[in-house]
Every structure is written in structure tokens, then in C-alpha cells.
């Protein structure tokens, strides 16, 4: 991971640049949507977080495979570093979704298919974080968590499918079709800028957290050896 230090400042710069451009476009250089009005500006923070909530789980699932198949310690570190970030992005997606829903649907929470599966995803993230806290220091802990992560990854499409099925059962007329292919460029521009900004921010934080995690392990092993040497001396 020594090479990763050369990525930190470039990643920070790119992310900051995209955030600056994105915020400028989102508030000063884009019109209100003809249907959603100004609430479309909530989309610019909602969609990137919704995308990251799934992307981070994808990264965790890939790392879990790396941990189980190749037993690569970096895969464990990557899984552990990603979990709290995924939970944070999912929480932000839910929060902004609720604030968008209030003026649009007249309610903070709608048991809409997407919101429901995002809530379930949030619960899965919380479970995994709790599992990391409980199992981290055990011999095969990270690989046990990798199993649970993969079982979750296999289940998420099934959960999504079942929730969508359940949703159409209970309200045949769907209220939420905001994201047609007809989005004008004036909305797409800030949307993509913000998505890039958040994705690069995640890449930056993931790199930093993985480096910190490696240092934490080193500190722990040094302390252990220090104590052991002290005992023999």
C-alpha cells in the first residue's frame, strides 16, 4: 500500500474540484425542473448517495471473494474500511429521499420499492458493522464476515425482487417514475458532477481508511511484541 500515498492528494483535488463545480451547477447554473420544480436540487445529493450505497456493497462483496479465495489481508482491510462508509451513504440516501418525498408525495416515508430495499440494505450494513466489532480480533473473524457479506450480496437481488413484487401488489399505480430517460441535459450535468464528486470522495476516504487500518494493525503487533519482550527481559 506504500504506493497509495501518491493517490491521496490527486484524489482529494479531483474530488474537491468536482464538488465545487457540482455545487455551482446545482444551485446557480441549472433551471428548476418543469415537473419537480426546485426539489430536483435534492436529487443532486440523493442520487450519488443512492448509487454509492450499492457500489460500496459491491466493493465489499468483491473484497469478500478476495478474502475467502486468495486470503489476501488487503481484502479484509478493504471490507472493514468500506462498511461504515456504506452505512453513511445509505443513511444519507434515505434522509434525502425522505426530504424529497415530503414536498413531492406529501409524506416523508413511502413504502416504495426502492426506499424499502434501501432501508433493508441499511439494516444489513448495520449488522455487518456490529459483526466487525464483535469478530475483528478473532483468528478467522474477517473471513467469517466475508461469508456473511457474500450471503448478503446473493440475497440483495432476491430482496429487491421480492420488495418490488410486494410493492406492486399493494399499490398498482406507482407514484414514482421521476427518472425517465427524458431528463434534460441541464439536470444531467450537475447530477453527473455530483456523482463523480462523491465517488472520488469515497475512493479517497477508502484509501485513507485502508492505510490507517494497516497502521492500526502494525501498532497492535508492535505493542504485543513490546509487551512480550518486556516480559522476557
Amino acid at each position: 500500500m506504500a504506493w497509495s500515498r501518491f493517490f491521496i492528494w490527486p484524489l482529494a483535488a479531483i474530488s474537491a474540484l468536482f464538488f465545487a463545480l457540482g455545487v455551482w451547477f446545482a444551485f446557480f447554473n441549472s433551471p428548476a425542473d418543469y415537473q419537480m420544480g426546485d426539489t430536483v436540487r435534492i436529487m443532486y445529493v440523493h442520487v450519488p448517495n443512492a448509487w454509492l450505497s450499492q457500489m460500496v456493497y459491491g466493493l465489499m462483496a468483491v473484497s469478500a471473494v478476495g478474502s475467502l479465495v486468495w486470503r489476501h489481508p488487503m481484502a479484509d482491510v478493504s471490507m472493514k474500511a468500506a462498511a461504515p462508509q456504506g452505512a453513511a451513504f445509505t443513511a444519507m440516501a434515505l434522509f434525502t429521499g425522505a426530504l424529497w418525498g415530503r414536498p413531492t408525495w406529501g409524506t416523508f416515508w413511502e413504502w416504495d420499492g426502492r426506499m424499502t430495499s434501501t432501508l433493508i440494505l441499511f439494516l444489513i450494513y448495520l449488522g455487518l458493522i456490529a459483526l466487525w466489532r464483535a469478530l475483528e480480533h478473532q483468528a478467522n473473524g474477517p473471513r467469517l464476515i466475508a461469508i456473511v457479506t457474500l450471503v448478503g450480496a446473493v440475497n440483495i437481488p432476491i430482496i429487491k425482487f421480492s420488495v418490488d413484487w410486494w410493492n406492486t401488489l399493494h399499490q398498482p399505480a406507482s407514484v414514482f417514475r421521476a427518472d425517465g430517460p427524458t431528463m434534460p441535459g441541464s439536470i444531467l450535468m450537475p447530477l453527473f458532477l455530483m456523482m463523480f464528486a462523491f465517488t472520488f470522495l469515497f475512493a479517497l476516504l477508502q484509501t485513507l481508511r485502508m492505510r490507517t487500518e494497516i497502521e492500526r494493525r502494525r501498532v497492535r503487533s508492535l505493542e504485543r511484541r513490546h509487551v512480550a519482550e518486556g516480559a522476557t527481559a
Binding site: 420544480g37 426546485d38 436540487r41 434522509f95 414536498p103 485513507l208 490507517t212 497502521e215 501498532v219
Partner: protein, 59 residues
């Protein structure tokens, strides 16, 4: 700043909530990184080193 229309409070609420959580995430990550770095330096200054330690810093 432009006019945000009748739903300004929701837009401001969503953006400020996201800003708070994102800043929190960044600060937490940076503080954790600084903490580990400090502990490592503390240990090294007391003479506890890795066997493979050559000259410089972590990873």
C-alpha cells in the same frame, strides 16, 4: 444564491444534512489516521521497531 421556491426548507435541509454527515465522515477518517500515526511514532520513539524497519514511514 438563487431562489429555491416554496420547498426551500427541504432542499436546504437535505443539502445541510448531507454536508454534515459527509464532513463527519471525513473528519472521523482524518482523526483516526492521525491517532494511528501518533501511536506508531510514540512506539518507534520508545525504540520499538519492526524487524524489517529500514528508514521511513509506514506501508
Amino acid at each position: 444564491m438563487i431562489e429555491l421556491g416554496q420547498h426551500a426548507q427541504y432542499i436546504v435541509g437535505a443539502w445541510s444534512g448531507v454536508t454534515l454527515v459527509t464532513l463527519g465522515l471525513i473528519l472521523w477518517t482524518l482523526r483516526d489516521a492521525a491517532n494511528q500515526k501518533r501511536r506508531l511514532e510514540e512506539l518507534e520513539s520508545r525504540g520499538v521497531r519492526r524487524r524489517s524497519a529500514k528508514t521511513d514511514s509506514p506501508s
